[in-house]
């Protein structure tokens, strides 16, 4: 197990390296540099920008720049942002990352809390009212673009009813402790629902069909024949078996969740990694773009690994080769 882990992690390194080369190449190949987007203030002397570019090494050959980047990163330094004048990328990303992690976790929690019980119930009582509504929701949830759902949610729940804040992560600048947590949760509800919408629909449908599948399988029939109660079968055998594909899905869905976060954060003006990525890529803030990519790459690769491990924890039949 430990060996397997080491081997998997070792494979990451060349992959990550390749990934950064590709992203660096792509980012550099894009026309413009961190200063071309800024020049709408004619009072600034363009010569100054030129000096800055020279200073930052942006006029060096791309491979040189890449090596420079890699060597700084190897020292554990993600460098400094260009757009956010000289601020350390670690600082800049830190807070945004946490915001996105909170939002993602919250969305995932909503997804699982809603999807698993409803999926179970639907499978246990097919053709019930709830099953029909869940199925309908499942279809519609997948057919509505999430930004649009977000806009409607803002319109209805934030503006018309005023139940939830429409933007940001906190209202009060002074809140601490419990108050702060509540404030943040309050702000996370609409974006969380928006981000979790598609996932909830997907998981619900998966859960339902998995459970149906397992319920129909031979060993459950045996268990039933042995006189086990339906509920205990459901929880002891079915749930466990049905959860395996969901874990796999979670591993893969991680990327999808982050993609969704890019858009959702934009709708709710939520200061997370997604919004930072968009500003950085449009401003050609290379250090930030690279840092985000690196971070996401590492996270997703580890996420997949984690999914694999969970997979085997839930289903002992699966072994590492």
């Amino acid at each position: 197990m430990f060996q397997y882990l080491i081997r998997r992690i070792l494979v990451f390194i060349p992959m990550l390296f390749l990934l950064t080369v590709i992203i660096f190449g792509l980012a550099k190949a894009a026309p413009g540099d961190p200063f071309t987007g800024k020049i709408l203030d004619p009072s600034i002397d363009p010569e100054v920008y030129e000096q800055r570019k020279e200073e930052l090494g942006l006029n060096d050959p791309v491979p040189v720049q890449y090596l420079h980047w890699v060597s700084t990163v190897a020292k554990g330094d993600l460098g400094e942002s260009i757009t956010y004048n000289g601020r350390s990328v670690t600082d800049l990303i830190g807070e945004r990352l946490m915001n996105t992690v909170y939002l993602g976790t919250f969305a995932l929690a909503i997804t699982l809390i809603v999807a698993i019980p409803i999926g179970l119930y639907s499978a246990k009582y097919p053709y019930s009212m709830l099953d029909y509504s869940a199925t309908a929701f499942g279809f519609i949830g997948l057919a509505v673009p999430n930004f649009f759902f977000g806009l409607i949610a803002i319109f209805v729940f934030a503006i018309s009813f005023g139940w939830f804040p429409a933007q940001g992560t906190v209202s009060s600048v002074d809140a601490t402790g419990f108050g702060l947590v509540m404030d943040r949760l309050h702000h996370m509800i609409l974006p969380g629902l928006t981000l979790g919408l598609a996932g909830t629909a997907t998981y619900m449908r998966y859960m339902r069909s998995e459970v149906l599948d397992v319920l129909g399988s031979d060993y459950i029939k045996t268990a039933k024949a042995k006189g086990m109660s339906e509920t205990s079968i459901l929880y002891k055998h079915t749930l466990r078996n049905a959860i395996i594909p969901i874990i796999t899905l979670l591993g893969f869905e991680f990327g999808a969740l982050l993609s969704g976060a890019v858009i959702t954060e934009q709708v709710f003006n939520y200061p997370g990694l997604g919004t930072l990525f968009i500003t950085s890529i449009t401003n050609r803030d290379y250090p930030v773009v690279m840092a985000i990519n690196l971070l996401l790459g590492v996270t997703i690769l580890f996420g997949n690994l984690l999914a694999d491990m969970l997979y085997s924890a839930v289903d002992p039949r699966i072994r590492y080769e």
Binding site: S43, D45, V48, R52, N85, G86, A166, Q167
Partner: protein, 587 residues
């Protein structure tokens, strides 16, 4: 017993109120005054005013390092310069109470206000002024990300100091604690503009190496940012909220309000929050969009202040293209340019000008909230002139006639004109994304030009970063381009945009006569008199409109929104964030 039950009721009420407050999330926050003045029209003390900005500032709250308009809007409240501007754009005393210029305008001496306190209680003195300008002249300033060299490069001995040849800074000199003198290398036509930069505190930054200033708490962190303004920026929730608290020791008198709060609110829901009363004003840098005008107008208790912006949008003509070796070596030398034959004939450019329905664009895309313009100089300025300036009133027939005269005639009957040699004549039109109205105007301009028989190849819009790169360095096949400039409210001199060697002269307009005029306008000593400059700019504007390196499309109206519970506002032509210490709330 009775008391008890009423207590219970009160408790219940409180509970209900609490729930309501939670649900409304901040709607219930009391922003009214804490004490009301006795007399009618007398300012109340206390209260909070909440403003909205649609994009977050980058967070650089140091005048010498900020870059964007959003950061500038924040600094307007916290920092001040020696001079300010009034509603006629004249320079007026601010931190300096008076000044004297010498005969040839090579030096200017300021008498500073006495007893001005920084937000941390230290006294503001001439040392701070010297420090600010000295820091901006430092060899490390640009390396550390500073861009505002325009304020220092005319100072005496700047080059020597900036290259590190000398440590002796002669540009700004402290005469005594409250007197400071600016010395210029050459007679300065705009000394007050140069001396008007916001001042930073020496005692805060003195110990910090310049390279670390932009990273220091004193530039970034709420509570550590020190200015002399009426409010101090005390709390920052990055990209969401910026809280300003009253500066009790403000030198122009204690501000009436307790707090001003800026919230970052997406443009999409701005009107909703205005309706809910969650925000009181929308101001710099963009206000509300013209499309939202009617919606906002309908909200009672809100007033809209309309002011033409300092800036304009234009349709540029790529009159020349730089040579590729010039692009490579980043030089701008008109001698190496090649003429863009497609639009070289002034008649062609004029025809295009006649064919574009600028009024239609203003009425349609801007919902009438703007004005067509014929000059790059802002209309608010003394230098703006319509005398002798050609106004290309929308007239397709005139356009057709001019094109016919120039020999551009449709010979093959495909509906589009060929050039005088009978070859296909297609003009490329490029435009950037980012400004919705400008994006919408591009296809309409194409449509209008095609009505005059001009074939337009409208290319895909690019985001600004890529667009400017193309405009600057990869423009060999560019003909028509859309762009807009934000203009300074300090001085109207257009030389940095339209003189032949100016990098921002993207049209690559090369007209020696025009360049001579621009130089003359800034030539001491004649230029010391504003009338003389105005006269020259008048000539230049007329020449510009004849030669037409660009067709100015429109000047948008800035639509500032302000709740009528806020009194004492004193708008300047370029902002409403002026004299905030005099603001007060009625309820």
């Amino acid at each position: 017993m009775r008391k008890n039950s009423s207590n219970k009721t009160a408790l219940k009420m409180k509970f209900v109120a609490l729930i309501l407050m939670l649900a409304a999330c901040g709607n219930g926050e009391d922003r009214g005054p804490t004490s009301t003045a006795g007399a009618q029209g007398e300012p109340n003390e206390g209260g909070i005013v909440v403003g909205a900005m649609e994009t977050a500032p980058t967070g650089m709250f140091n005048p010498i390092f900020y870059e964007e308009g959003y950061d500038e809007a924040i600094l307007r409240i916290t920092h001040e310069g020696l001079v300010g501007q009034n509603e006629d754009l004249e320079f007026i005393p601010k931190l300096a109470k008076s000044w004297d210029m010498n005969e040839d305008q090579t030096s200017i001496t300021f008498q500073l206000e006495e007893g001005v306190k920084w937000h941390d209680g230290e006294e503001f003195t001439a040392e701070d002024v010297v420090f600010t300008y000295q820091t901006m002249s430092d060899p490390d300033y640009v390396k550390s990300g500073g861009f505002r060299t325009e304020y220092v490069q005319d100072l005496k001995g700047y080059d020597a100091y900036n290259t590190g040849e000398t440590d002796d800074f002669e540009g700004v000199v402290e005469d005594d604690k409250y007197t400071v003198t600016f010395n210029f290398e050459e007679p300065n036509v705009t000394p007050l503009y140069t001396a008007g930069f916001q001042i930073i505190p020496k005692h805060v930054f003195d110990d910090i190496p310049i390279a670390d200033i932009p990273k220091s708490d004193a530039s970034l962190k709420g509570g550590s940012i020190i200015g002399t303004g009426p409010f101090k920026l005390t709390k920052i929730v990055d990209r969401q909220q910026y809280v300003f608290e009253r500066n009790d020791d403000y030198w122009q008198g204690k501000p009436h309000l307790d707090k001003i709060v800026y919230k970052i609110v997406d443009e999409a829901i701005m009107t909703g929050l205005l309706e809910n009363g969650d925000i009181d004003f929308v101001a710099d840098p963009n206000g509300v969009s013209p499309a939202d005008y009617k919606t906002v107008k309908k909200i009672k208790d809100m007033q809209i202040i309309e002011q033409p912006e300092f800036g304009n949008q234009f349709l540029g003509f790529k009159m020349n293209h730089r040579s590729s070796s010039d692009i490579e070596s980043r030089t701008i030398n008109p001698d190496n340019w090649t003429v863009n034959e497609k639009i070289a004939d002034p008649k062609v450019r004029q025809a295009i000008a006649y064919a574009v329905n600028r009024e239609g664009i203003v009425n349609g895309l801007l919902y009438g909230k703007g004005k067509k313009t014929n000059s790059t100089i802002a209309q608010q300025f003394w230098a703006y002139s319509e005398d002798g300036v050609a106004d290309y009133e929308y007239d397709v027939e005139k356009a057709t006639q001019l094109l016919d005269e120039a020999g551009f005639i449709d010979k093959d009957g495909d509906g589009f004109r060929e050039n005088p040699d009978g070859e296909k004549w297609v003009l490329n039109l490029d435009f950037p994304t980012g400004n919705k109205i400008r994006e919408r105007s591009a296809p309409l301009i194409k449509q209008q030009l095609e009505e005059a028989g001009i074939q337009i190849n409208m290319r895909q819009p690019k985001e600004m970063t890529a667009y400017i790169d193309g405009l600057e360095n990869r423009d060999s096949d560019w003909d028509l381009y859309l762009l807009g400039w934000a203009l300074s409210s300090h001085d109207p001199d257009p030389a940095s945009l339209w003189s032949a060697t100016a990098p921002y002269n993207y049209s690559r307009w090369n007209n020696p006569e025009a360049d001579a005029l621009l130089e003359k306008a800034m030539k001491a000593p004649a230029a010391f008199e504003q009338e003389n400059r105005a006269e020259v700019y008048k000539e230049w504007q007329a020449l510009f409109s004849e030669d037409l390196p660009a067709l100015f499309l429109y000047v948008k109206d800035n639509l500032w929104v302000m709740s009528d519970r806020v009194e004492g506002i004193d708008p300047l032509p370029f902002t409403i964030m002026n004299n905030t210490h005099e603001w007060w709330v009625t309820r």
